[in-house]
């Protein structure tokens, strides 16, 4: 099999674009925290959810276009189609037999795919898994761009983890991945809560009030998160770690074998 010009030789321009689109999305998500320091007038607060959701959708689209270019040749398409199908089937199983709390089996494979095949592949795997499983489980809705964006980041950041070419001992890789899974188990919930937290009219003590300074808003959000999401998210975090430790080694082996077989070249950062 001849080697295709893989994603290895990409110019820095694309990387900058990708990073920029991602950061803009993060900035849009972080809007409620910095609103006060921007000199927010309370009158426009009603527009905030719409503007933020629109911007986030644009960022997801921009990143999808960038990530697919170059990294998705025939092999990439076939491989990703299979991985996304597998992962969506897992989410379907989860829908039929719900696990405890917010536990979900999809993140382990997203993290492993990003770790083995690189950041762009990881981003696409994460974002498209959420998209396809939403179609299958009839879960399409306004929350979908948030889910795609965040799951995309899970896969993308997994591509930045160290230790790939370093011949680390197995326990070290597994410990890294498990810790990473725990971190994202909480972060995913915290980010997705942002999609509705400042729209929700709840307890005044934990609700978003325009005009507060960033510290106070973070404290309020922390309170809201601790009360509503910490325990369910704990299950997702621990579930991620358990799946990565138990299923990680054979899955990594199979994915690495596929990478060699399909002559994938990891993009170099």
């Amino acid at each position: 099999m001849t080697r295709q010009p893989g994603p290895a030789g990409r110019h820095a321009f694309s990387l900058i674009v990708f990073a920029l689109a991602g950061l803009l999305g993060v900035a849009a998500l972080g809007y409620p925290f910095v609103a006060a320091s921007l000199g927010q007038g309370a009158g426009r607060a009603a527009d905030a959810p719409l503007v933020v959701a629109g911007l986030l959708t644009l960022c997801v689209l921009g990143m999808l276009v960038e990530a697919q270019s170059g990294s998705l040749n025939a092999r990439g398409i076939a491989l990703m189609g299979v991985l996304v199908a597998l992962n969506s089937a897992l989410r379907l199983v989860e829908n039929i037999i719900p696990g405890p709390g917010e536990f979900s089996p999809v993140f382990a494979l997203i993290i492993l795919a990003g770790y083995v095949f690189g950041a762009r592949f990881g981003f696409l795997t994460g974002a498209l898994t959420l998209l396809v499983s939403a179609v299958i489980t009839a879960g399409i809705g306004p929350w979908l761009p948030y889910q795609m964006f965040t799951a995309g980041w899970v896969g993308m950041s997994a591509g930045w983890l160290p230790g790939r070419g370093l011949n680390w001992p197995r326990w070290k890789t597994l410990a890294l991945l498990a810790g990473f899974g725990v971190m994202w188990g909480f972060a995913y919930g915290a980010i997705l809560n942002l999609s509705f937290w400042y729209v929700l009219a709840g307890d005044p003590a934990t609700a978003w009030v325009p005009g507060l300074d960033a510290g106070a808003i973070i404290a309020r959000y922390g309170g809201f998160y601790a009360v509503t999401s910490f325990v369910p998210d704990l299950f997702r975090a621990l579930g991620n770690a358990a799946l990565l430790v138990v299923f990680g080694p054979p899955t990594l082996k199979a994915l690495r074998r596929a990478r060699r077989q399909l002559a994938f070249e990891r993009e170099t950062e």
Binding site: L55, V132, G141
Partner: protein, 339 residues
């Protein structure tokens, strides 16, 4: 119906449901969704009544424990309890229940959309610039049911060898063959695709990429200006950014040479239904009937119902009705509805 019409229907329905957070309108929208599903020639998966009961219940309890506002106090929890302590009011209960109901209607609404539009056509809705992504999605949608079948086969094979899954670790003999078989399939698929000339990835040109990013930045600046200052400038800047962004996407799509197999296209009937949907939802959304959302605070009262708004919502039955009218005479040689 063209899939684009159904997409417009789903988005219009979601927007109307969210803006008219009101028990009677929510029930009307639910009825419309259910009728639209019943007339579907394709999949009629049952909508779980469980969902329609639990979501309002959950919403009511959650909101009543969180928001201690309203005049009709039902009982008082000790103030010492953090967050949930305080008066529990009928208003908060009602508001939460209606929110939960709206959310359930939203779920049903999109469920009907997915049931009515074959997955293949859904992927065709993607613009040309997303060709590779749409291909992955089509592939995955096609492979997901096969994956479930394979899982069942592997389960049966392992059970025949005396395998009984108990703990997490016992799922390994199921997962590994599933994954390896999938990767094997990917390898064969790649060979087949390359044999048919799918070999290369389309690379984005710098100009298109620059346009996309410039559009993003403009839209973000516009959004920031809109939220901090308000006024017309921010909105204009956002529209400009959106235009530049879409222009970049359109230009990048030109590099993709693609034709469609059996493209159905938009027929006159589709355009008419689309116009009806836009007019009806536009009238509701842009305040032809005032604010429809029901706000029970500070004192609970009976929600009122505006006939005009209800009739506008009933117009959202148009795609289902048009589909039912077109049903008795299927075009000769038309592919059977497939999911």
């Amino acid at each position: 119906m063209n899939a684009a019409v159904w997409l417009a229907w789903a988005l219009a329905g979601a927007a109307v449901t969210l803006s008219a957070r009101h028990p009677l309108y929510a029930l009307l929208m639910l009825t419309i969704a259910l009728i639209s599903r019943e007339t579907s020639p394709g999949d009629r998966r049952a909508i779980s009544p469980w969902l329609l009961l639990t979501l309002p219940l959950f919403g009511a309890v959650f909101n009543a424990l969180n928001a201690h506002v309203g005049d009709t106090v039902l009982l008082r929890l000790p103030e010492a309890l953090p967050l949930i302590g305080g008066p529990i009011t009928a208003e908060a209960l009602a508001y939460g229940a209606v929110s939960g109901l709206s959310f359930a209607v939203l779920l049903v609404w999109f469920g009907v959309f997915v049931a009515r539009v074959p997955a293949r056509e859904l992927a065709h809705l993607a613009p040309r610039s997303f060709h590779a992504v749409a291909l992955v999605v089509t592939l995955a949608l096609g492979l997901a049911p096969a994956t479930r079948t394979r899982l069942r086969e592997i389960q049966a094979a392992q059970a025949a060898r005396g395998h009984r899954p108990r703990g997490v670790r016992d799922w390994l003999p199921l997962w590994v063959p599933l994954l390896v078989a999938g990767l094997e399939q990917a390898s064969q698929l790649a060979e087949a695709m390359m044999a048919r000339g799918y070999a290369s990835a389309t690379r984005l040109r710098r100009r298109d990429l620059a346009l996309i990013v410039a559009g993003l930045i403009l839209a973000a600046l516009g959004g920031g200006a809109q939220l901090t200052q308000g006024g017309f400038g921010g909105l204009a800047l956002m529209c400009l950014g959106l235009a530049v962004f879409l222009g970049g996407l359109a230009l990048s799509g030109r590099a993709v040479a693609r034709t469609r197999y059996r493209d159905r296209g938009m027929r006159p009937m589709d355009w008419m239904v689309l116009a009806l949907i836009l007019a009806a939802s536009g009238a509701v959304l842009f305040g032809a009937f005032g604010t429809l959302a029901w706000d029970p605070y500070p004192t609970l009262f009976m929600p009122s119902f505006q006939l005009g708004a209800g009739l506008c919502m009933l117009l959202l039955l148009a795609p289902a009705a048009a589909g039912a009218l077109a049903q008795p005479a299927p075009a000769a040689g038309a592919p059977a509805p497939r999911r």
